[in-house]
């Protein structure tokens, strides 16, 4: 006997929450978590449609595409068209997720996002992968170090940068429920699991790992893991450094940030993005008005990337835990 509809809906929702829970503690690229979560979302929510610009194997929307071919639309290599087409789907009452690489989605289609998605507040989810320097070997043309800045400056835009697979999967579901434009920044490289098993993601809510007496690291994305490691390094020299994960860059969680930095002599922001206009920019703007304190921004220092392995690039651009620890040590005294 077939389940009654509401019962089968409930089962699907349960399946979804079990699937999310199973990702807790799992090291995985956030793009992989996205692909899995999107597929599960597709099972329980028939309003989800997915668009891609010829990169479904890399963005991992392929999993959804294979399961729900009638709700998957490959728009070909035309990001501007894809973004506006997603806008049309939203206007028809569906919930589109549009994916490609971050540099093309936010760069190539920036004005389309501004005019057609953000200005009329359309319910479009821009989920872009291959953000930041850890794209690796493909080099500067494919490494988006400017995407957060590009999205932050647009009114109405919500920006989510998950730190690991578990957080990504939660935000995929949260964004499907949220009625408005949003940008989700995902990565190619494996992300170490950092969020605790009982973590509940929420738009606009930063997560405090530790409150520190001496300094505070405000981190996002892959840099959350580096920051947590930096804290351990600094504890060896008796420096007590707090760490928070700001996965919603916009709207910024000012309350959690103020609470985390209170009493600290130094704040360090950490992101795999330009130090201009991203998390560092947002935090500096916020704290200069609300809690003037010395801020060191860690990120890509106004330069383009290059080819190399993600590990090599993290070292070259000084984004490792050791780099963070050294900066804090040098600036505390």
């Amino acid at each position: 006997m077939a389940n009654r509809p509401e019962e089968s809906q409930l089962n699907k929702a349960l399946l979804r929450s079990e699937e999310i829970a199973s990702l807790a503690g799992k090291d995985m690229a956030t793009r992989d978590a996205y692909g899995t979560a999107l597929y599960n979302l597709g099972i329980s929510n028939e309003k989800i449609v997915v668009l891609d610009a010829d990169l479904s194997c890399s963005t991992k929307t392929i999993k959804f595409a294979k399961a729900f071919p009638e709700r998957f639309f490959n728009i070909g290599i035309s990001e501007q068209d894809m973004v506006c087409t997603a806008g049309g789907f939203a206007l028809s009452g569906l919930i589109p997720f549009a994916s490609t690489f971050a540099v093309f989605e936010t760069g190539r289609a920036w004005e389309q996002i501004r005019q057609t998605i953000a200005y009329p507040f359309l319910n479009v989810k821009l989920a872009a992968t291959h953000s930041g320097i850890t794209v690796g070997e493909d080099g500067a043309s494919h490494q988006a170090n400017e995407d957060i800045a590009l999205m932050r400056v647009i009114p109405n835009m919500t920006i989510i940068v998950p730190a690991d697979g578990f957080e990504t999967a939660q935000f995929v579901n949260i964004l499907a429920e949220y009625n408005g434009p949003a940008y989700m920044r995902l990565g190619r490289a494996k992300a170490k699991a950092v969020m605790p098993n009982d973590y509940k993601a929420s738009i606009g809510k930063a997560y405090k790992f530790h409150k520190g007496k001496d300094a505070c690291i405000i981190a996002t994305g892959l840099m959350v893991n580096e920051s947590l490691k930096a804290r351990e390094i600094l504890l060896q020299s008796s420096i007590d450094c707090g760490v928070i994960n700001v996965s919603t860059i916009k709207p910024l969680d000012g309350d959690t940030i103020l609470e985390a930095v209170s009493g600290c002599k130094l704040v360090l922001t950490a992101e795999e993005h330009s130090i201009i206009g991203g998390l560092g920019g947002a935090v500096a703007e916020f704290l200069s008005e609300n809690y003037p304190v010395k801020i060191i921004r860690t990120g890509i220092r106004d330069t383009f990337g290059m080819s190399g392995s993600p590990t090599e690039l993290m070292k070259i651009y000084r984004l490792t835990a050791e780099d963070i620890a050294e900066k804090i040590r040098n600036n505390l005294h």
Binding site: G76, S78, D81, T85, L91, Y119
Partner: protein
């Protein structure tokens, strides 16, 4: 909820187009700025859409099964506003607030501010992509509505139009009808001189569209083309409507300088006299 009476009466539609032209000129004069030429070139087409072709309910603007109209050439906002007011989406008195502070009648249409505006436009080249998404989304949900998208001829210089043209044909969106307002002029001069767009029909044929060429001021031809577009299955239709920029007012007709200039008080008087005395 009442649906508008769909009228095939040519004289009635001609009268409505004339009325719309009068509203357009009056609101532009009060605003003191705005796009006269391209609003008047598209008036007959938009009037036939709103009074004959489209299934829509002005008193229920969010009716799920309504046909959608996308003014991709958003600078022709006055033609959209006039038809929305005339068909009852809002009071005609609101037309006098065009481009004024806090008015829902923005210089270019905003869907957030004004009922009946389906899509915010103004940045050229984006409307056809939006129309594609809408048409595919409606089809996926089995909503039997059609999507109409009005493009400027200068606008098709935007590369995104051709990305979208590929998408419409690839996904066989036969619930979509694009209309090119081919008035031959753009801000800097004749399209042929600024950036050649001809041959327009051949380009759309090559992109896999059903192409219908008409005189964009002949009401009967507009009606027939829109009906034929609805009958065409398996591919999208584009109507290439040959029009005259500034149509209906001899001092504005085919004059590039009236692309983005509102009529002065004197010009308005001449224009209204001419329109009232026309048949």
């Amino acid at each position: 909820m009442n649906q508008l009476n769909q009228s095939k009466d040519i004289n009635f539609l001609k009268e409505k187009a004339k009325e719309a032209r009068i509203e357009i000129l009056k609101m532009l004069n009060i605003a003191g700025s705005g796009h006269t030429g391209g609003s008047l070139s598209a008036t007959d087409i938009v009037a036939v859409l709103f009074y004959y072709k489209m299934r829509h309910r002005p008193n229920e603007p969010e009716w799920k099964e309504r046909d959608r109209f996308i003014l991709s050439k958003g600078h022709a906002a006055p033609v959209l506003y006039s038809l929305l007011a005339m068909t009852g989406y809002f009071e005609k008195s609101l037309l006098t607030t065009l481009r004024k502070i806090n008015s829902p009648l923005q210089g270019h249409p905003s869907s957030k501010l004004l009922k009946g505006v389906e899509v915010s436009t103004g940045s050229l080249g984006q409307g056809l992509s939006i129309a594609n998404g809408l048409a595919m989304g409606l089809r996926l949900q089995k909503i039997p509505a059609r999507v109409y998208c009005l493009l400027g001829d200068g606008e098709i210089q935007e590369g995104q139009i051709w990305e979208a043209a590929m998408t419409s044909a690839h996904y066989k969106s036969d619930n979509l009808c694009a209309i090119v307002d081919n008035n031959g002029l753009q801000i800097d001069g004749r399209c042929a001189e600024v950036m050649k767009i001809d041959p327009i029909p051949d380009k759309w044929i090559a992109f896999g569209w059903n192409v219908i060429n008409i005189d964009g001021h002949n009401i009967k031809e507009i009606i027939n083309a829109l009906d034929e577009a609805e009958r065409c299955k398996g591919k999208p239709t584009v109507i290439i409507a040959k029009t005259v920029k500034g149509k209906g007012v001899s001092i504005f007709e085919d004059k590039v300088q009236y692309h983005g200039v509102a009529p002065s008080k004197e010009e308005l008087e001449i224009a209204l006299k001419e329109l009232f005395s026309s048949g």
